[in-house]
């Protein structure tokens, strides 16, 4: 959060419509995503009740568990969902040496496309990857649990399940884990993706309701965001987008229908009618969220894609390829919890991804960069003077090209002389701050506030130099090899420029011991995880 987003919220409230907080799209939107809207039975850890799933907005697959406490029916649900998801995943060739589609490892009979050669060590990055959308973060949490409760199952033995069930569990686990990885777009929550791009006139807590969030972003023609968001809170008109159901629905509708199914089962007759009635009621609860999730995808798709999105999607594709290969190679399921080394590795990777994401978003999007400008970590303004051909004698005695540029800015500048900045979009250029000189009355900038004259210059934009700062920068690098800058590599007078302390630099992974070298401070080497019978027949009640 920042003043910028906060102001956008205030503006949204007054305008009755969400305001953009991004000028480009920061998430990848697949051409053919898969939407999964699950419902769970209240009071249970992970009892699927129903779901809508599929990659065709016009043709959702409705899955219903008539008796959510029945283990057999739960596994039937998982198998059905598994087939649906693996059919979708199977459509993405997962790289590797002339392999079948990724899902094919499990879904016998789904023949994928071959994907080029690819050697033993070097795996080709798959050309595309699946993308699964849920309405909200809680949906991803449910997915994670569903993955956890199915991935250790086995297709043979005493508690055998449909072979597709453990494969589903491993994919769901992979996707849910990956969704925690900063910048990853393999599994997304619609509410979070939207909130990254729009600020509403309500609180972030209320934005967790997808219907109300979309009410602000895209209200119906006859009303405004405020009204639409309020209307969206009526559980009768807009059932919650899951996985929790509305208690009123549970008590007044669902309980009766489940009981009817039970009786029909016991009594032998009426079963079809009871099941149909239950399915219809659950479809009524799911359908609005299904449509809203697709609308969210559409809203996001309409935004132009940010420059670094494709790069991050490539990392996702690579991760997808790895996991597909792991499955193909008969690797074990993901363990219950990370070992010490695995946890530290993952944290390191997440921290590097988070740092990189923050920088990339700022470089891609002036509105995000503005947050850094407000914080004094970047500045933007107009060039008032430039000395593009300046050459000095460097420390080594060589003559080097060091142009000077004077930038005049309204931004609250807090960089100090000597700081090295970088211009977004010119990765090889550096700009060293030579001097910072406030022009006119001080105090309008936040960081420079001394409280002395803060109230001056209320007349708004335009007028004069009040609150402006002049910054002189010395450029180096990215201007070609000669002592005159390559054309266009040094800004000219009148150009609008931006310089920031941010830099998207590759950070190598930190070195950690091998798991079998885990030191005594961290419990010593863990027993390598091996799935057990115990895991496979774990109760799911």
């Amino acid at each position: 959060m920042s003043v910028l987003t906060a102001l956008a919220r205030a503006q949204a409230w007054q305008a009755g419509r969400a305001q953009p907080v991004a000028t480009v799209r920061h998430v990848h939107v697949a051409p053919r995503p898969f939407v999964f809207v699950p419902l769970a039975l209240a009071g249970e850890a992970c009892a699927p009740l129903a779901a809508m799933a599929g990659d065709d907005p016009a043709d959702p697959r409705l899955l219903v568990v008539a008796q959510p406490r029945n283990r057999t029916q739960r596994f039937a649900f998982a198998a059905e969902l598994g087939r649906e998801l693996l059919r979708y995943i199977g459509g993405f060739p997962a790289g590797g040496a002339g392999e079948e589609g990724a899902g094919a490892a499990a879904d016998r009979g789904t023949a994928g496309q071959g994907a080029g050669e690819g050697g033993e060590g070097e795996r080709a990055v798959p050309p595309d990857a699946p993308q699964v959308w849920l309405p909200n973060r809680a949906g991803i949490g449910f997915t994670r649990l569903l993955g956890r409760s199915t991935r250790f199952r086995r297709a043979e033995g005493e508690h055998a399940v449909d072979p597709v069930v453990p494969v589903l569990g491993r994919w769901l686990t992979f996707l849910a884990e990956r969704s925690e990885h900063p910048g990853s777009c393999l599994m997304l929550a619609a509410t979070e993706a939207l909130a990254l791009h729009w600020a509403t006139g309500q609180s972030p807590a209320e934005d967790l309701n997808l219907a109300s969030l979309i009410g602000w972003i895209d209200p119906p023609a006859w009303t405004d965001g405020r009204e639409a968001a309020r209307a969206a809170e009526d559980p009768l008109a807009w059932p919650p987008a899951g996985p929790a159901t509305d208690p009123g629905f549970d008590n007044e509708v669902l309980a009766r229908l489940i009981a009817a199914c039970d009786r029909a089962e016991a009594g032998g007759g009426e079963a079809a009618r009871a099941k149909a009635a239950l399915g219809e009621a659950l479809a009524g609860q799911l359908e609005p969220a299904w449509r809203l999730t697709w609308r969210a995808i559409g809203l996001l798709r309409a935004l132009p894609e940010g420059g670094h999105v494709a790069g991050r999607w490539e990392a996702d594709r690579r991760a997808f390829g790895w996991h597909a290969a792991h499955l193909r190679d008969g690797g074990p399921p993901q363990p219950r919890r990370d070992s010490a080394v695995a946890a530290a590795r993952r944290l390191d990777s997440m921290e590097r991804a988070a740092a990189s994401l923050a920088v990339q978003r700022a470089l891609d999007d002036p509105l995000v960069m503005a947050e850094h400008r407000l914080a004094g970590e970047a500045l933007a303004g107009r060039v008032t003077a430039a000395e593009p051909d300046r050459v000095i004698t460097g420390p080594s005695g060589r003559r080097v090209l060091r142009p000077l540029v004077t930038v005049r800015t309204h931004d609250p500048v807090s960089v100090e002389p000597g700081t090295v900045l970088a211009p977004p979009g010119r990765p090889n250029q550096h700009a060293r701050v030579e001097s910072v000189a406030p022009l006119g009355a001080r105090g309008a900038g936040m960081a420079g506030a001394s409280g002395a004259s803060g109230a001056s210059g209320a007349s708004g934009a335009g007028a004069g130099a009040a609150g402006e700062t002049e910054v002189v920068l010395e450029l180096s690098g990215g201007m070609g090899q000669r002592l005159t800058p390559a054309p266009g590599s040094v800004p000219g007078v009148g150009d609008w420029v931006c310089y920031a302390t941010l830099r998207d630099e590759y950070q190598p992974p930190a070195g950690f011991p091998e798991p079998e070298q885990t030191p005594w401070t961290h419990g010593g080497p863990p027993r390598p995880y091996e799935p057990t019978d115990e895991d496979a027949r774990e109760a799911w009640s």
Binding site: M1, S2, V3, L4, T5, A6, L7, A8, R9, A10, Q11, Q14, T23, A42, G43, E44, A45, C46, L145, R148, S149, G201, Q202, S203, P204, A205, E206, E233, P235, D246, P247, G248, D250, N251, L254, A255, R337, P366, L367, A370, L374, H410, D411, P412, G443, A444, G445, M446, A449, G451, G454, A455, A458, S459, G460, A461, G467, E538, A539, S541
Partner: protein, 375 residues
């Protein structure tokens, strides 16, 4: 009846008071700065009905599936003389094998009145605290009492276990799952603060009997289903932090007259029900009465307080309604209109707003500059 009680009764009006319980006492800590909630709870007002009468009922409710599951799990853990619970206590807390004595305090020979149950609880716990020998181990649904805001509140823990390392332990049985050692942090927090209320009440009871607070452990036992099964698992949770919070909030509750002094005498939340129990109070008058007691609305209230929808409506147009972080980022300026005027520069900021205004103007300038350019 003292003056404060009389005043509280007037505020509530003709309805029977809703007694505090462990949940409402825990809720004292969820928005302690809100005078409206403090006063309405102290007076025992049925907030949901009041909120409904002014057209803003809170969308709270519990699914019967969740209730059934909760009851079934507790019954299962306690079945067969708390057979499953005994196993957990033995395995996790080294409860000695001979310690199996069980007393059910749900009723006393069929009498389920609070008074009788509390008296019986007191008698049994007094015997346990005093002798230690043949003192009883498991007390199922004891009824404790705590003074809150000058009133006695009856509280019913799931179970109290004695002879765990010679101390009383509060046992709380919840039906949310602990999966691979992890549970929902919010649900655990709620269970912990609720258990802390019981610890306080139990210490009060023992104090009356001349036993010191150290007889009650400040660790409580939380029993939950393990992973996706019905098998129970137990965890020990430290409630010292919650105890200090509760003590402070209960002390504040005792100073309710300070809050009452600021409310006009005529204010009442009476719904004026007719003979059939249908509320007849003029809606506008009730709104004014509610409005006479200041609220401290934050969006978090939407999770916890029955008055939330009313207060949110009242707070519309304030930065508080946009969330804590937003209000903070806007330099604590309360009103959205003011923020936007400052952003436009259409009014000069008051002295104390100068810095906030400068930041807001800078933000507005940047947004204009960027969005103006890109459309």
């Amino acid at each position: 009846m003292n003056a404060v009680e009389a005043r509280l009764d007037r505020l509530r009006g003709s309805a029977a008071p809703r007694a505090h319980n462990a949940r409402t006492i825990s809720a004292l800590a969820s928005n302690p700065g809100c005078a409206r909630r403090a006063v309405m709870d102290a007076a025992g007002v049925d907030k949901q009905r009041v909120a409904a009468h002014v057209g803003h009922p809170a969308p709270f409710g519990q699914s019967q599936f969740a209730i059934t599951r909760g009851n079934a799990f507790e019954a299962q853990v306690k079945a067969g003389g708390c057979a499953q619970l005994l196993r957990l206590l033995r395995e996790r807390l080294r409860l000695p094998i001979p310690e199996v004595s069980y007393a059910n305090l749900d009723d006393v020979a069929g009498d389920t009145s609070n008074k009788v149950r509390h008296a019986r609880t007191r008698a049994l716990l007094a015997r346990a605290a005093a002798s230690g020998q043949d003192a009883g181990t498991l007390f199922d649904h004891p009824l404790l009492r705590l003074r809150a805001g000058g009133r006695a509140v009856y509280l019913e823990p799931d179970l109290i276990a004695f002879q765990l390392r010679g101390r009383f332990h509060v046992v709380e049985i919840k039906s949310f799952a602990v999966i691979d050692g992890q549970a929902d942090g919010g649900k655990v927090a709620a269970a912990v603060i609720q258990s802390a209320v019981y610890v306080l009440a139990l210490r009060d009871l023992l104090a009356e009997l001349g036993t010191g607070p150290e007889a009650v452990s400040d660790e409580v036992v939380l029993v939950c289903p393990k992973d996706f099964s019905n098998e129970p698992t137990a965890a020990l949770l430290d409630v010292r932090k919650q105890l200090t919070v509760l003590r402070r909030q209960l002390a504040r509750l005792d100073r309710i007259e300070d809050l009452l002094a600021q409310i006009p005498q005529a204010v009442t939340f009476d719904l004026e029900p007719d003979a059939a129990g249908v509320p007849r109070r003029d809606r506008r008058a009730l709104e004014l009465a509610i409005g006479a007691v200041p609220a401290r609305y934050t969006p978090e209230c939407l999770e916890t307080c029955e008055m939330c929808r009313f207060c949110r409506e009242e707070a519309a147009g304030s930065t508080a309604a946009l969330g804590r972080a937003t209000r903070d980022d806007l330099g604590g300026i309360d009103d959205i209109g003011t923020v936007l005027e400052l952003a436009r520069g259409s009014v000069p900021p008051a002295d104390h707003q100068a810095e906030a205004a400068a930041a807001i103007r800078a933000a507005a300038r940047m947004r204009g500059e960027i969005l103006g350019a890109t459309g």
